[in-house]
Assembly symmetry: C4
Homo-oligomer: 250 residues x 4
């Protein structure tokens, strides 16, 4: 028996106390949207690919019919607001509960501890089922001492939210970070969970700007967020009409 | 591949032939209720946390939004009735059959055999579907020679009960104890299994008082037990009324 | 990660080229009935217990409330018809497909190859759904050269039976025996599969008597077989009456 | 814990930069039909058998009642169009997603990398649900640089086909080949997927003839393909009649 993961190292960049930003798929793909965008904006470079027996056993094709096994990827960007950043990106998580655990634990031990990650932000969505006009960014931390700094950046700590805990990679890296003594937090943008939510992603980006100390052009997010507002207005309008109709019928 | 569990040792207390009390979640949460309460009463201290790939892959939050990975915990209390005690506490067991086995076997080999556990009491419930006025504490042992001592403490050995055997951690540690030559018993409080059963837990506590040689204030249990009696009376009353009604209708 | 099995050795008998008789639960429990009975008749002694994470994670109780983990057991009997015998007995097989494979493979490597097993007979049932007046004993072999000897002992080789192959321990040890170069055969007593079939078991015992060179008192099997004949006659009678009734009604 | 596979080496042929042709069961059994046939035509010799805990835990019988464990097999043929060929043949793939991954990864590491495989063609079907008059052979590659050579041999690269990626051994070996830096391609014959499709297999064989540089008697394939054409014509005829009927009824 080998390890569950195969870690392919493309380069060994010198990183100083890097901050890990986890953005794998999840509720409303909030975390993925944020991390993919920031990695692009900062011109991040791929340096590690992680394959695993716990990912779907298949190859996917790009537009040129070039195949790749399902994987997670690590990208780095140097000197963002004075910090080196590492992004955990990808299109899949482990297929089973113990698979999710094993994939993340091996990444933690084989990569993140070795490159000296100094802080972990796992990025996710907090599904409410409702479209929020002004989505909050909820927080969970490995250490209560981190809360003032996060609150100053706009994070809300709300007792009992999320009540069901934090599942998958966002919960696991928060927990593994705590075990390893690395200050770790999960930032969860409030989202209906019904579509890829750029408005929620924008809220998370604004928190990260303050936490890490950078500023980016958020036009894309703002435009997408406007679409969501229009969509929400449209739905609300229809619902009014609907209830009117229903009243008339009833 | 690593071990299934990650064992984090917080301190290495000197324990003399400790007695292990297993109180993980189960039928009527009888075992958990007993073990959690005794650990609190005796001011037990956390010394080991066990994480596992077989536990739910998620972080749960406390009231302060501080996250922790799903885990089992070991707490110790020194000199209780002349004995050192180790409590196995937690909110989860392994998610799959082989996961349950692996979690418990690794704990046995990596912790309990190393700290020289001299006796094992696994605590559980025996679900009958009925609310009992005076719940028995059924027993199962690793060695027939243990029975007189247990019977003296009030344990009932009833051929064919429980007929389906003892599943999960309570059965596994009893079995692993037997393999390792450690006198081991499972104490099962009779319970309806429909709610957290403090009356059944009280019966198990009374057995443990005699077995280990301590005495605690059982007021809390007695009050909770009284509520259960009231509940049972209420249900019985309703059932009478119900049948009366039904007779009238019929 | 450890091995899937825990092998507990109670004694190390000197065995000369022992013959392995596998009799774990299966269709009509034919193999189990045969192996359990022969082990008893020959006064076999328990020398190895095998526990596994792939067995049900539970303890079962005997009539004295003494608990044991689910297990498989090895018993030996010396000088039966000039041969030393090893019986593989138990109440369970692995719970999952890969579990079944792993349990048997580890037993093969950790025990059977080490004690120099010289021949393997896996004992099973061949479910036909019908009660046979004179159940055949079908055979499958690791090597075509074994067939004449088996045919002389009454084994029938019937092309295409069983069409679905041989599942579980009976198929696996036959296959592992072949890989290890150990002459191996599966003996399958024809059975309806609807109850524990002593008549089919009797047929398998008669084959083994000739193959191994022993003779036992088969009164028990013959009596149980008579019951089965009576049962079959009774069912046949009822079916006639039933169709008569149906004709009358129709 | 051992490896998931047991690799039995029957002989160690000297192979020069062999080309691997994977032909395990899949959609329309196109890949299996091609690989089985070519192995036979070229008089390939069995040199490795691979057993695995991830294959069905059972023995299958040949016409002589000789049993074999479920397995995959490696056959070689020397100097075919100037190339040594290795065929991966068998009747099963792993039963679970992580099983499929583990079986293939261990074969890659324990066999294919060791014998110096220089190129990989995984052979499969592309299920369209329709019977095609002239089935295309779609391609996916590990490296865009391979495309001109494949296109010259008749392979079609069609963006977005197959949209769902390539599952199982055909996808995995393509992906593992890419990771190992071995030029690898998946050749997928278009097929309805409803039966063993010799017409699609013929199309794949014609591509391989050009790619590897051999020519074989394709009479068998052509005859089987003719049957399929007749079948398709028959179905089309019936459909016409059917709609006629339906029109009349309607």
């Amino acid at each position: 028996m080998r390890t569950a993961n195969t870690v392919v190292v493309h380069s060994k960049p010198k990183l100083k106390d890097p901050i890990l930003l986890e953005g794998l798929p999840g509720i409303g793909n909030v975390g993925k949207t944020v991390a993919d965008h920031l990695a692009e904006v900062f011109g991040a470079k791929l340096f590690v690919t992680v394959y695993s027996k716990h990912f779907p056993p298949q190859a996917t094709l790009d537009g040129e019919c070039v195949a790749s096994l399902a994987s997670n990827e690590l990208w780095y960007a140097k000197d963002v607001g004075g910090h080196d950043l590492v992004f955990l990106l990808g299109d899949c998580q482990g297929l089973t509960p113990d698979g999710q655990y094993e994939v993340c634990k091996e990444m933690m031990e084989d990569v993140f501890l070795k490159i000296g990650v100094s802080r972990i932000y796992t990025l996710g969505g907090y599904g409410t089922g409702l479209i929020s006009e002004c989505p909050r960014v909820l927080g969970a931390v490995s250490d209560a001492g981190m809360k003032p700094e996060l609150e100053e950046a706009g994070v809300v700590f709300s007792m009992g939210e999320p009540g069901a805990g934090i599942v998958g990679a966002s919960g696991l890296f928060l927990g593994f970070g705590k075990i390893a003594g690395i200050p770790s937090a999960c930032l969860m943008g409030e989202t209906s969970g019904h579509f890829v939510d750029h408005k929620s992603a924008l809220a998370v980006v604004e928190v990260l700007e303050k936490l890490i100390g950078f500023e980016i052009d958020k036009t894309m997010f703002e435009e997408m967020a406007r679409h969501i507002d229009e969509l929400a207005a449209h739905i609300a309008e229809n619902e009014k009409t609907d209830s009117g109709d229903l009243g008339y019928i009833g």
